[in-house]
Amino acid sequence: MFRMNHQIDNGRLVPAFKAFVRHRLFIPIAFLSFLLLLNIFINPGFLRISLGRDSSGNPVLIGNIINILNNATELVILAIGMTLVTASSKGQDISVGATVAIVGGVVMRVLCGSETQPAVLHASVFVALLLGCLAGMACGAFNGILVSKFNIQPMVATLILFTAGRSIGSMAMGGLKPKAVSSFGYYGNFIPGFPIPTPILITIAMVTVTCLALKKTNLGLYTKAVGINDKASSLNGLNPARIKFMTFVILGFCVGIAGFVQSSRVQTVNPYTIVPSIEMDVILAVALGGNSLGGGKFNMTGSIIGAYTIQTLTSMLTTLNVNTNAVPVFKAVIIIMLVAIQTPVVKSFFSNMDVFSKRAVSDGKERC
């Protein structure tokens, strides 16, 4: 009854509100704001940002928000690639964490050779970045060939690297755990004299490049077309196999960048523990961004907001002294709920309820 009156009285307000609720970005933005509010409630000084000094006396920005933006770098970069893969191939790549370990292993091997504590870097950082990205793209190409040429479901195809990847990363380093000199750490922490963390700059660069690529090229259009119906798109002259392959290679490139940043953060890599369960976070970011995990249309902005939301959640749980290994419990529950909301069964259930209420409204009008 209340709903009926409401609709009749504020006929103009309700559609606007409904349009906002139905917007694709509603869930990610609402969830992010909810988490931020919760954080402010737990810690009133949550939003404070101050200029401090690090151990070597350089000016750096300090604050919870800065930390979240900084730590979300890998997640945002991987979410960009994962969104494309999800859209084109109707499945997810679960090997990203293992591939990050491979990239980290390659980067450390290039920089340190077979010494555990080299006094100087064995190669320039640029070469290490390049080889790391190549390693990531090679892994992406491997997955891409399995998915596009052999028609294997993406998650099964990437299961191979999911298990072997961390071992391959360990093999790439020759079983050592070398530590690079501190100048390598500029890319994961701060460049001396510049207060903003470098990963934030890298994120901005990657997001800008992605925006340009989606605006100026047909990448987005082709990916959506292949994801919605690959037979139809091949009749229209596209090559679905090549586009799927390409999205996996792009994800491989993203993994390369993320692995480089991650290994630069602490200047050392343990392949068996680096970025634990990040594949879960990335898939969660894509799902949270309002993207269907069944492929088709995608929303890059949503995925990026989703990635920041996940990082906010993680840092909140860490603040509440939850064990790092136990954090996946909460994320698993959230991902199940989010995916459950998206399923056709639940959707049709809710739309049936909607139809019911409309009927009730029309009945009411007739009576009036």
Binding site: G91, Q92, I94, L146, F150, N151, I152, Q153, M155, V156, A157, L159, I160, L161, F162, T163, A164, R166, S167, I168, S170, M171, G175, S277, E279, M280, I283, L293, G294, N323, T324, N325, A326, V327, P328, V329, F330, K331, A332, V333, I335, I336, V339, A340, T343, P344, V345, V346
Partner: protein
């Protein structure tokens, strides 16, 4: 009337033809099974010939293959059932880790006895199977997403319960798990010339009984045939009057139950638990099923193939370690390479079938 007969005749002809095709595909299953068994025998003979001095010529080695892999056999059976229905479950490693930790905590701190722990393990496995099966079958969520979440949920819960690695220190349980079956007349003569009887763990007997039970379930019962029908083509299965959703749910429930038994056998064998327990177990089980001839797309598979799949990957691991490579990464990489080979082989077989049709 005549035309009706004609139609019926044509119909029966069609059924006859489809029966023939069904038989062809069945011989395909037998073909895959033969490949697996031959592969296992060839690898075993080669290892005896070339690595005989490393212990491969001993009978105990053959029994150890079963002793080490009893839990994996049971879990791989569950995965085969799920894969025959065209679904997948990658949460079994997580649930195994959870079962081990929960049972050890109950044994050590709360003084549970053997049977209560067994029931506890089965309950945890069934709970995983029931919840995941409900989400997959009735809410039509993607099996991979649901079970990936289940995997992280299992490991995360382990970390909530106990962060460190823990061992069983319950005398009764240890005594039971240390018990072995001595096999008369079978054994090896050691360097001093003393005859030592071969030993088999009790878990192996349970695993083999379960394999036989699952074989009967799949081949002889209506439920087993529905698994194959749903995996082969869920649309036709629906038209034939099979309750597709319920069948899918039962498949996941059964997989959960078998994961519970497997988890218990794992605990029985290792007597320890940690967050890292049974890492990669799901992948080993999937690999064993695939090597044993279960198609990832569903509808084709044989439990005895799965058994030989486990034994094949087990012997390959033994060979990798016996060759003397101390590097810890080779077992995982070898397994992944084998998995890759068989996945690609299956995909080629599938695409050839499609082009034939």
């Amino acid at each position: 009337m005549q035309s009706l007969n004609n139609i019926q005749g044509a119909g029966s002809g069609g059924v006859f033809q489809s029966k023939l095709k069904r038989k062809e595909s069945l011989t395909d299953t037998a073909f895959l099974l033969t490949i697996t068994i031959t592969l296992f025998i060839v690898i075993y003979i080669l290892s005896i010939v070339f690595l005989g001095d490393k212990g491969f010529n001993k009978i105990q080695m053959f029994f150890n293959l079963f002793n080490e892999n009893a839990a994996l056999i049971v879990i791989a059976c569950g995965l085969s059932i799920v894969m025959i229905t065209g679904s997948i479950d990658i949460s079994v490693g997580g649930s195994t880790a959870l079962i081990c930790t929960v049972c050890i905590v109950c044994l050590n701190k709360h003084g549970f006895n053997f049977f209560t722990v067994l029931i506890l393990a089965l309950t945890i496995g069934l709970a995983f199977g029931a919840v995941q099966g409900f989400l997959i079958a009735y809410l039509e969520m993607q099996p991979f997403i649901v079970t990936l979440a289940g995997m992280f949920l299992g490991r995360g819960l382990v970390a909530l319960i106990e962060v460190n690695q823990i061992q069983v220190n319950n005398a009764g349980f240890e005594k039971l798990s240390a018990a072995r079956i001595q096999i008369p007349f079978l054994g090896d003569i050691n360097r001093k010339g003393v005859f030592i009887q071969s030993k088999l763990e009790y878990g192996v007997i349970i695993a083999l009984i379960i394999v036989c039970l699952i074989y009967c379930l799949l081949k002889k019962t209506k439920l087993g045939r529905s698994f194959y029908a749903v995996g082969g083509n869920s649309q036709s299965a629906l038209m034939l009057g099979i309750n597709v959703r319920r069948t899918r749910f039962y498949a996941h429930l059964l997989c959960g139950l078998l994961a519970g038994i497997g988890g218990f056998l794992y605990l029985f064998h290792t007597r320890s638990g940690s967050v890292q327990q049974a890492t990669g177990l799901e992948m080993d089980a999937i690999a064993a099923s695939i090597i044993g001839g279960t198609l990832l797309t569903g509808g084709v598979g044989n439990i005895f193939g799965t058994l030989f799949g486990v034994l094949t990957s087990g012997i390959v691991l033994l060979i990798v370690t016996a060759i003397g490579s101390q590097d810890p990464w080779w077992p995982q990489i070898t397994r992944a390479a084998m998995l890759c080979f068989f996945i690609v082989l299956q995909s080629i077989i599938c695409s050839r079938k499609k082009s034939k049709n």
